[in-house]
């Protein structure tokens, strides 16, 4: 039972549930409540409006590039010698990651609400780029908050956002990463709430964000499920996705939730160890998080005994967030999804492996899911199917990769690369 709220009492009456088991809810300064209620109403109205769906579908198809392919990773599967691995190619979407699904959806909503100014936070820069892209498309003002450490790590994406016309504001508080960027975006929103829509980039924050952002990413599993049935005539044994805030993972899991035989595996950032500040694995058994409230929602949080949020680390800027989407917290407690963590070093190795076996350079975030798939595939049967949500492409990470990986040993031969 939650220590915060008597969930889920009352939530049944809402058009859109704001709680996932004990988790979720709305924990924000009062100034934001009117805007959250307005957003909830606008979203509920849009859900019932065929015109909204038509416009969304049109943009997803012809601007973003949906449906994305489902690709059989033959060489990787054969070299690992176990489960057959399929890749859901979200990396092929416009702007290079799944993030655009949500940005188009929320951009359309902002337009319906008459808000001409968009703010967003970004960690790896993919959500910032997708937001800047949609703002350019819709002719809206765009301000992106990004931690200075992330600006340094993801320099190319900073340039892309500026090229697209967005103002990128560096955040120098805290660890100068994603959490701090969200704090600053929330402060901007509290101040400019009457004219501004906060285009939150993950299944985090106060209701209705976790539900709404999930819904905009449901297309991932809706397509993958259908494509898998078409290709293989059956469902995958397991779906694997990386989890920072958890938007690509919830999108990849959602339509499989009723399929009890499909394992759902979320991969957190294991960083460089299990000590405080060494990782961002909220569900780690020893050294992980516990239920708490951060940035508007009740979920697992990496914190000390006094309730202060502790630092995190990951080689990937998109996964080092101290909390996780509340729906993942509920799936974790219910045992419906499993959560594991993958160290930095394994993610880097998986980046090389996928690049060389399939000619696909994954984002470092995504590489965490690839690494877990590589770990479990050999122990599975060749009748098993492993579906990886390939959430983003790795071009943005070339700076980090250049520093972290020495490639002098590349032989030019592709016969046996794993």
């Amino acid at each position: 039972m939650s220590t915060v709220a008597e969930a889920p009492a009352g939530s049944e009456k809402q058009a859109i549930p704001g709680r996932f088991g004990a988790y979720g809810g709305r924990y924000v300064p009062e100034t934001l409540m009117a805007a959250l209620e307005e957003l909830e109403e606008a979203y509920a109205a849009a859900q019932l409006d065929p015109g909204f769906h038509a416009e969304l579908d049109e943009l997803l198809a012809h601007y973003a590039g949906r449906p994305t392919p489902l690709f059989y990773a033959k060489r990787m599967s054969e070299q690992l010698g176990g489960a057959r691995i399929y890749l859901k190619r979200e990396d092929l979407l416009h702007t290079g990651a799944h993030k655009i699904n949500n940005c188009i959806g929320q951009g359309l909503l902002a337009r319906r609400m008459g808000k001409r100014r968009i703010i967003a936070e970004t960690g790896a820069g993919q959500h910032g780029v997708a937001t800047a892209t949609v703002c350019a498309l819709f002719g809206m003002d765009c301000v992106i908050y990004m931690g200075e450490e992330d600006m340094r790590r993801q320099e190319l994406n900073v340039y892309r956002m500026r090229l697209l016309g967005a103002e990128v504001r560096g955040v120098s508080s805290g660890q100068k990463t994603l959490k701090d960027a969200i704090n600053e975006a929330m402060r901007d929103w509290v101040t400019n709430v009457r004219t501004t829509h906060y285009l939150l980039g993950s299944v985090l924050g106060a209701h209705p964000y976790p539900t709404m952002v999930r819904d905009f990413h449901r297309c991932i599993s809706k397509e993958a499920r259908r494509q898998m049935l078409e290709r293989e005539g059956r469902l995958p044994s397991a779906v694997v996705a990386c989890v920072g805030g958890g938007s690509n993972a919830i999108g990849a899991f959602y339509e499989f939730l009723p399929d009890e035989n499909v394992r759902l595996i979320g991969v957190e950032a294991g960083g460089r160890g299990s000590g405080p500040g060494e990782h961002a694995a909220r569900f780690l058994a020893a050294g992980g998080g516990s239920p708490g409230v951060l940035q508007g929602t009740y979920s697992y949080v990496l914190q000390d005994e006094g309730g202060q949020i502790v630092p995190t680390h990951s080689v990937s800027a998109g996964l080092d967030y101290p909390s996780i989407g509340p729906e993942h917290a509920a799936l974790h407690d219910a045992g419906r999804a499993e959560y594991v963590s993958c160290p930095d070093a394994d993610a880097l190795r998986a980046t090389v492996a996928l690049s060389r076996t399939e000619g696909i350079i994954p984002a470092l975030e995504t590489a965490h899911a690839v690494a877990e798939a590589m770990r479990i595939a050999p122990g599975m049967s060749t009748d098993d199917i492993l579906l990886i949500n390939l959430s983003g492409r790795g071009d943005k990470d070339l700076g980090i990769l250049t520093r972290e990986l020495k490639l002098e040993g590349a032989s030019g031969k592709h016969a046996d690369t794993l």
Binding site: T3, V4, A5, E6, G25, R26, Y27, V28, P29, E30, T31, L32, M33, A34, A35, E37, S173, G174, K179, N183, M186, R187, V190, T191, N192, V193, R194, S290, G292, V293, L294, Q295, G296, V301, Q303, E305, G306, G307, Q308, I309
Partner: protein, 263 residues
């Protein structure tokens, strides 16, 4: 001890507890009370203060950095209560430290400890009326006043709800935005207070951006108290720990009598 505003407008003085350290906060709080503050709000430092501007963010960071915990702030409140039995004492916190203090036991451990320390009321920045059920039950069981925020953006239906659940006083936010001193006040505050009066008979304190005697005078026309926060925290930031209590005392006296401040 019920919260009372003796003069109109009353003064609520916000201090980030543990900045620069807990014994300094103790001395500063006494000086604030002796200079005429009706209520001292002890801010519990938090790593992620999303509703606060740069001044309180920095104070919070310093206090967290020194290891200040909610348990320490409750102890500080107890010492202040002993020293000044008549003063109003309100804890001002983000939700998470309070939640962790009571881990697994709802809000009872927190409310019980706060009541025992002699705290009168609690304001949780990121707790809204709709989510407050279990919190309100514990607060009532320990005879603590739950202070809630009301914002210029809150529609009447929300103000009504806020009026229903509040105790002690209602904290009306003078303008949309984060905490921090401003040169002048907007018309938002007066309008908000007059809307709130329809839904509550509690005193109404106006805060956010209050830093001058003119502001306090202006607030006295339509509200019951003025909350001064960032302005005090700035003075503390700029002062040595030895002179900070006297500087805060003088500043608060000046807020009540502009002539004195100028002389």
């Amino acid at each position: 001890m019920p919260i009372r505003f003796k003069e109109k407008p009353g003064i609520v003085a916000y201090l980030t507890a543990g900045d620069p350290d807990l014994s300094a906060t103790y001395a500063i709080a006494l000086a604030a009370i002796d200079a005429g503050a009706d209520v001292v709000e002890l801010g519990v430092p938090f790593s992620d203060p999303v509703a606060d501007g740069p001044v309180i963010q920095r104070a919070s960071e310093r206090a967290v950095g020194r290891g200040t915990r909610l348990a320490d702030v409750l102890q500080l409140a107890g010492r202040l209560r002993e020293a000044r039995p008549e003063a109003g004492l309100v804890l001002f916190s983000y939700l998470n430290p309070v939640l962790q203090f009571s881990r697994g036991k709802g809000f009872d451990r927190f409310c019980g400890t706060a009541a025992k320390a002699g705290v009168d009321g609690v304001l949780l920045t990121d707790m809204i009326a709709e989510e407050a059920g279990p919190y309100l039950r514990s607060m009532r069981a320990h005879a603590l006043a739950p202070v809630f925020l009301a914002a210029p953006t809150s529609p009447d239906a929300r103000l009504q709800k806020i009026g229903e659940v509040s105790g002690g006083f209602v904290y009306a936010i003078s303008r949309v935005g984060i905490t921090g001193a401003q040169p002048s006040m907007t018309g938002d505050a007066e309008q908000l207070v007059s809307r709130l009066r329809r839904y509550t008979d509690l005193p109404i304190a106006v805060g956010f951006g209050i830093s001058r005697a003119e502001h306090v005078l202006e607030i006295g026309r339509f509200a019951d108290a003025a909350v001064v926060g960032s302005a005090l925290v700035s003075i503390i930031e700029a002062s040595s720990r030895e002179i900070a209590p006297a500087a805060i005392g003088r500043f608060i006296e000046g807020l009540r009598s502009p002539a004195l401040a100028r002389s």
